[in-house]
């Protein structure tokens, strides 16, 4: 998992949303929220389909008028402005290339509309095409491009406008894994090179973690948690976030009198806090095959049920004796012994590496 880059933000909110919401009839697509986007930030709106992330993006871009609330961009109230009047540009999920224009005409179209002088327009277009590695493809028609190339044209066409905020709607989701990774690297490079504020929508937690300086996790029209990838991964605020961002083992239990009791746990652990139902969230990489010489806060006996090889690490499903399955991953180093399927062994983890969620 890539560590979120420390953001080059200046701490100045370039987009300021207040009480923003959107309803379609009785259906609330996005509940009222205040949200600021800092200048220079790379913000991911992460959530499952139907969570309202695209609705929010389209409101920022001016494609949807909010039901309530206001949006300010660079200090100007743009709530009632359409996309043509906002200095935002959106890269669509389907790219939306102009099929009757060449790559160059596609990229230059916005500049032409802005009546940029010819020389300047050509320079900017050339620079942008080479930035996205499309030199030599200027005169191709969109239907003669691969998915990755089409994606780059769409990106270049938006970037050439030097938008105050660049918006991207699941724009990598149509690419295969290899290409998606490449494009993620490139997006990061471009963001570092050009600066600017980027907001992108994704349902892919890996993509959000690898690109974003801040992630806003969304569910049912709400932003349920915001923070860096590390914050969210290590301190999920809810079972939903824990399950959606990264893999997690979740064990239900109850805290009473400073003691945790969980039917699935073979041990009792102390925990401070009020008496309530709790969920223990344990990331698979936190759990180890117990080293007999070490003490663990949580330790239990299990049987290896399956073992999957991922190159850099192994992933195991370990059955606890009463049927509960725990996922754990083991980073490989040559010295490690790797347990086999069917082997019985102890697993363990420490309390400071897991997260205890109080009942929701």
């Amino acid at each position: 998992m890539r560590e979120a880059k420390t953001s080059a933000t200046t701490g100045k909110a370039i987009v300021r949303m207040r009480g923003l919401s959107k309803s379609f009839g009785d259906n609330v697509a996005f509940h009222p929220h205040d949200l600021d986007i800092q200048e220079g930030e790379f913000l991911a709106l992460l959530g499952p389909s139907g969570c309202g992330k695209t609705t929010l993006l389209k409101m920022i871009g001016g494609f949807l008028a909010p039901t309530t609330g206001t949006i300010e961009i660079s200090g100007e109230d743009v709530t009632r402005y359409g996309p043509e009047k906002r200095r935002t540009n959106l890269v669509f999920q389907g790219y939306g290339l102009f099929p009757h224009m060449t790559v160059r005409q596609n990229v230059a179209y916005g500049l032409k509309l802005a009546q940029t002088p010819k020389k300047q327009m050509d320079e900017k277009t050339d620079r942008m095409l080479s930035l996205v590695h499309l030199d030599g493809y200027e005169n191709r028609m969109p239907q003669a491009l691969s998915g990755g190339q089409a994606q780059r044209v769409a990106l270049a066409r938006a970037l050439v406008m030097e938008p105050t905020v660049l918006l991207m709607d699941e724009c990598l989701s149509a690419l295969d894994l290899q290409l998606r990774k490449e494009m993620q690297d490139e997006l990061r490079t471009i963001h570092a090179a050009l600066g600017g504020t980027y907001v992108f929508v994704t349902h892919d937690q890996n993509e959000a973690m690898s690109l974003a300086t801040r992630i806003a996790v969304m569910k049912d029209g709400n932003i349920v948690q915001q923070g860096s990838a590390k914050d969210i991964y290590e301190n999920p605020a809810s079972r939903f976030v824990a399950g959606f961002v990264g893999e997690a083992n979740m064990i239900k239990g109850r805290r009473a009198g400073g003691q945790i009791h969980a039917p699935d746990l073979q041990c009792a652990v102390t925990s401070d806090g009020v008496d309530c139902d709790i969920t223990i969230v344990i990331r698979p990489d936190v759990i180890e095959f117990a080293n007999p010489e070490l003490q663990y806060d949580f330790a239990m006996l299990g049987t290896v049920q399956s073992k999957t090889y991922f190159g850099s690490h192994l992933s195991y499903d370990v059955d606890l004796d009463h049927g509960r399955t725990i996922k754990l991953t083991q980073t490989l180093s040559p010295a490690d012994s790797t347990p086999e399927v069917g082997q019985q062994l102890r697993i363990g983890w420490n309390a400071d590496r897991c997260k205890i969620l109080e009942a929701e």
Binding site: T88, L90, G96, P99, T102, L113, R157
Partner: protein, 279 residues
């Protein structure tokens, strides 16, 4: 094996095409170089029919050309406006509008002609209404039996036909490029000219060609509502075949008209694609 099968499967279509299109057209093309002597067809190879077309019917050809061009342009323009409404503005009423337009086709061609006679006639609805309102003191006689009546009648007949290729063309345009254009700062007009129109060129050409060719070949409308001064080429072709029994001259007239129409269509296509080409 596969080739054999494909050929067999294509045979009926090829047969129909040959029997109904290729053979008759070739036949009339050949006899357009023949002559009539004593009411009988005589084999020949002479351009005399084409010479008489040029000498005697040029005025009709020019008139037909301009009236058909007017009808085709107006029809295509209006059909595009309706198709645009159906595709972009009418929302869920779009299919309903289209349905209504299609239903009028069931009315038939002659019914529409008679409908316009009752609307435009001296005692027709339009004149009566204008008299009643006091816009005019006596009925306008030039409404019916004039080129205007021909244009209106054919426009009414052709509009649903021209609508179909345009709705098809507009429906095949996806929303994303249109939204992108707006996002890049395009006004509604620029989006129409730069993004929408270039993508529905084939539909525009089809709509134009349909209305242009049908108008240019029509002879019933001009006869019934066109009046004594509105003789179109179709009327002359018909009379060569039916009254004068001079099929060679009729054929020559038909092929001359067809050639002019095809040239006009080619020019229209070129002009359209030039003016809509992205710069």
């Amino acid at each position: 094996m596969q080739d054999q099968k494909t050929k067999i499967l294509l045979a009926p279509a090829a047969l129909v095409f040959t029997g109904l299109f290729v053979v008759p057209l070739s036949y009339f093309f050949v006899i357009s170089f023949w002559r009539i002597r004593l009411y009988k067809l005589v084999q020949d190879f002479s351009f005399s029919n084409y010479v008489s077309v040029f000498q005697e019917y040029m005025h009709a050809a020019v008139f037909t050309f301009f009236i058909s061009l007017t009808i085709a342009i107006v029809t295509t323009f209006l059909a595009f406006a309706i198709a645009y409404l159906v595709r972009f503005k009418a929302g869920r009423f779009g299919p309903f509008i289209l349905y209504i337009a299609m239903v009028t086709m069931f009315g038939g061609y002659l019914v529409k002609i008679y409908a316009w006679k009752t609307i435009l006639g001296t005692n027709g609805i339009l004149n009566s209404a204008m008299l009643w309102v006091g816009m005019i003191d006596e009925p306008l006689s030039w409404l019916l039996y004039s080129p205007v009546a021909v244009v209106l009648t054919l426009l009414h007949f052709l509009l649903p036909l021209a609508l179909l290729p345009l709705v098809g063309a507009l429906n095949s345009i996806t929303d994303d490029p249109i939204l992108v254009a707006r996002d890049l700062g395009a006004t509604g007009y620029r989006t129409l000219v730069d993004i929408i129109l270039p993508q529905c060129q084939p539909g525009i050409v089809s709509a134009f060609a349909l209305s242009f060719f049908i108008s240019a070949g029509d002879y019933v409308t001009p006869r019934l509502v066109g009046g004594p001064d509105t003789f179109m080429v179709g009327n002359f072709i018909e009379s060569q075949f039916v009254n004068r029994l001079n099929a060679p001259l009729g054929a020559a007239l038909a092929f001359s008209t067809l050639t002019i129409c095809l040239i006009a269509l080619a020019l229209f296509r070129i002009l359209l694609s030039r003016s809509l080409a992205p710069k």
